[in-house]
């Protein structure tokens, strides 16, 4: 999927995360993760983010995560929502979301 515009999803409330997605001018995928629990769960958070982006075939774009202790399922949902918004996608390919 191609990121064509800036988009956000989620909140900064506890157990949630804010995902900001924007087009990249470098032709690469850049992921920045800030989290209150980065020491304990940094690897798992990064895995959930990159796995979700891989399944959506996002290879190009800037992804900034502000995590507030979200569960894996919440991270995946918010990343999916932000990417779909950033790609201007109306129709979902459900096969890419699991």
């Amino acid at each position: 999927m191609k990121v064509i515009k800036e988009a956000i999803a989620g909140t900064l409330e506890s157990s949630d995360l804010l995902v900001k997605v924007a087009p990249s001018h470098k032709g690469t995928r850049e992921i920045v993760i800030r989290s209150e629990v980065i020491k304990q769960f940094g690897k798992q958070i990064r895995h959930a983010v990159t796995d979700t982006l891989d399944k959506l075939s996002v290879s190009d774009g800037s992804i900034v995560i502000e995590d507030k202790g979200a569960l894996d399922c919440v991270i995946r949902a918010r990343v999916q929502a932000a990417v779909l918004r950033a790609c201007g996608s109306q129709e979902l390919d459900w096969g890419r979301l699991s």
């Binding site: 979200a70 569960l71 995946r76 918010r78 929502a81």
Partner: protein, 288 residues
């Protein structure tokens, strides 16, 4: 028999509640994609619910998704998320007639085929929120073999009836409650009473629980976890009822062992529904 005393509403876009609501152990959890979610967050909430449904913590609890009404642009997308996520029951709000259930059922079957769920696996329930819904309750409740429950929703109904909620025995809801309940019993499905909105008023909540229980509702829709324990305690059978149920089941067991066609206790014949009720009493006591 599935216990359905408490159905806890969880806003579909509330990450904290989606992450914790299973710990409160309601009989059913209802992820809401309708009124609790603003139109601009429907897409994100749909994905949140889709992912939450697959979380291991929700495997042992009955899950329900309240989709948006069939008069909206959202409901078919909601349905995709719910069914593909593995929901047990889809709850249709503002149900007016049986045709809406037929339309819903057709789309549910289409999506089940598309995601390789067995056709018929997803159950349905309808919320009655208007005068026409109440009048059509019998047809709605029996519209599909997928139907497992029907719920009364008070706020919209009272607006439609040009009245408002009162304290005490709530005569303004009596006809609707009785109609919905009769429709459920005639269709052999469960019935949920209205939500009680003031979460700080335990006394008022318990007064309403007493009405619902006495009328025969299986339980209530709930908007706050603190109402779960209150409800379950109120629905718990008394010690006397538990002892009687045990004696009924012992008598039934003895009659079965002796090959007797008729069960009797203290010189009185016991009908099969009494045995069913005794089993339910012990189930409720164990779950209280």
């Amino acid at each position: 028999m599935k216990l359905r005393r408490s159905m806890l509403f969880v806003p579909g876009d509330n990450a904290a509640m989606l992450s914790t609501s299973f710990v409160y152990k309601p009989d059913s959890i209802m992820f809401d994609l309708e009124d609790a979610v603003s139109p601009r967050e429907k897409d994100s909430a749909r994905l949140m619910v889709y992912q939450a449904l697959q979380h291991p913590a929700y495997r042992d609890i009955e899950t329900v998704v309240r989709i948006n009404g069939v008069d909206t642009e959202f409901w078919q997308k909601d349905l995709e998320a719910a069914i593909r996520g593995g929901v047990d029951i889809v709850r249709l709000p503002k149900t007016e007639n049986a045709q809406e259930i037929h339309e819903l059922e057709a789309h549910v079957a289409r999506i089940e085929k598309g995601c390789e769920r067995p056709v018929g696996d997803t159950k349905l329930m309808a919320a009655i929120e208007s005068a026409s819904g109440v009048v059509n309750a019998v047809a709605i409740a029996s519209a599909s073999p997928r139907m497992v429950a029907i719920a009364m929703a008070g706020f919209d109904y009272l607006v439609d009836m040009h009245t408002r909620r009162s304290d005490g025995w709530e005569p303004e809801l009596f006809y609707a409650r009785a109609s919905v309940l009769h429709a459920a019993r005639a269709a052999h499905i469960d019935a949920f009473d209205v939500v009680y909105g003031n979460v700080n008023d335990d006394e008022g909540f318990l007064r309403e629980v007493k009405i619902a229980k006495q009328l025969g509702f299986n339980g209530k829709s709930l908007i706050h976890p603190k109402q779960i324990e209150l409800l379950h305690k109120a629905y718990a059978p008394s010690e006397e009822e538990v002892n009687h149920a045990k004696r009924v089941l012992a008598a039934a067991e003895e009659a079965h062992r002796k090959g007797l066609g008729v069960v009797s206790l203290d010189g009185k014949m016991i009908d099969p529904p009494v045995i069913d009720e005794a089993q339910m009493t012990l189930q409720m006591a164990a779950a209280a």
